[in-house]
């Protein structure tokens, strides 16, 4: 079963967090270690980090189909910071991996305990939509 683990931590307008360099480095090292562990267990499908919300655009099709871009988001909007796709035997295993990611170190090395959204991935459109 495939699951996506989403880190929705960022707010509109924000760039690189203002953490000391050392704290940023331990955070990244932790994430790279987690990815390595999941690659070795054969559970990692993909993992990506996204650029910061200050570069995000919202696109809609205009009447002629041409893209209309908009970069203004409400301050309250949550942005995806990154995600993991894992192929695991049960939702419980996906939750265990999400909890590990949640506990990644933040400023001063303390675990962030950030919320990670866990969702099953569909291999195709739901049967009721076909």
């Amino acid at each position: 079963m495939k699951y996506i683990l989403m880190m929705n931590t960022m707010r509109a307008g924000h760039g690189v967090p203002a953490w000391p360099q050392k704290d940023l480095q331990s955070h990244i090292a932790f994430m790279m270690g987690l990815n390595k562990e999941l690659r070795e267990s054969g559970e990692l499908v993909s993992a990506e980090g996204l650029s910061f919300p200050d570069q995000a655009k919202l696109v809609r099709a205009g009447k002629d189909g041409a893209p209309v871009t908009d970069g203004v988001f409400p301050e309250s909007k949550e942005f995806l910071a990154g995600y993991w796709i894992v192929d695991v035997d049960s939702p419980e295993r996906a939750y265990v991996i999400a909890a590990k990611a949640s506990a990644a170190p933040g400023p001063g090395g303390a675990p962030l305990n950030m919320p990670i959204e866990v969702r099953p991935i569909m291999s195709g459109p739901p049967p009721e939509m076909l």
Binding site: R60, A61, Y95, P111, G124, P125
Partner: protein, 130 residues
């Protein structure tokens, strides 16, 4: 450059899909499949996934001992990711054009949904090549 095109909606919005006619759903899916086919042929396609409905979503946090704590209660206003496309394109404008095409996919009665698509650049691949 890799970009992710994110299609999001609220739970109430997702539930309106159940009211679409079979014909409208088929027309919508046919356009999305055509977009995937075109992107594959142009060599820009990296990945696409649809996510299971928000009712299956959980938020996970790591407790002090690293144990996962799950929570499935979300505010009505929360936007959920419905699906995404990852494309590898020469510039942001090309990513916006693709997002515009997705946005113009037909909805009920064949009328374009004009659904907003969030376009974000990947951070990971760029940092690896540095």
């Amino acid at each position: 450059m890799k970009y992710i095109l994110l299609m999001s909606g609220t739970r109430a919005g997702v539930e309106t899909y159940h009211a679409w006619s079979k014909q409208d759903i088929e027309a919508h899916m046919a356009v999305l499949q055509r977009i995937n086919q075109d992107l594959t042929e142009s060599g820009e396609f990296v990945a696409t996934q649809g996510l299971a409905e928000p009712r299956d979503a959980k938020v996970v946090r790591g407790e002090k001992n690293g144990f996962p704590v799950t929570d499935g209660i979300f505010p009505e206003s929360k936007e959920f990711l419905l699906g995404y496309w990852v494309v590898d394109v020469p510039n942001a404008e090309r990513a916006y054009v693709i997002a515009g095409r997705i946005s113009s996919a037909p909805g009920p009665g064949g009328k374009s949904t004009n659904m907003p698509i969030e376009v974000r650049r990947f951070a990971t691949h760029e940092s690896k090549s540095r």
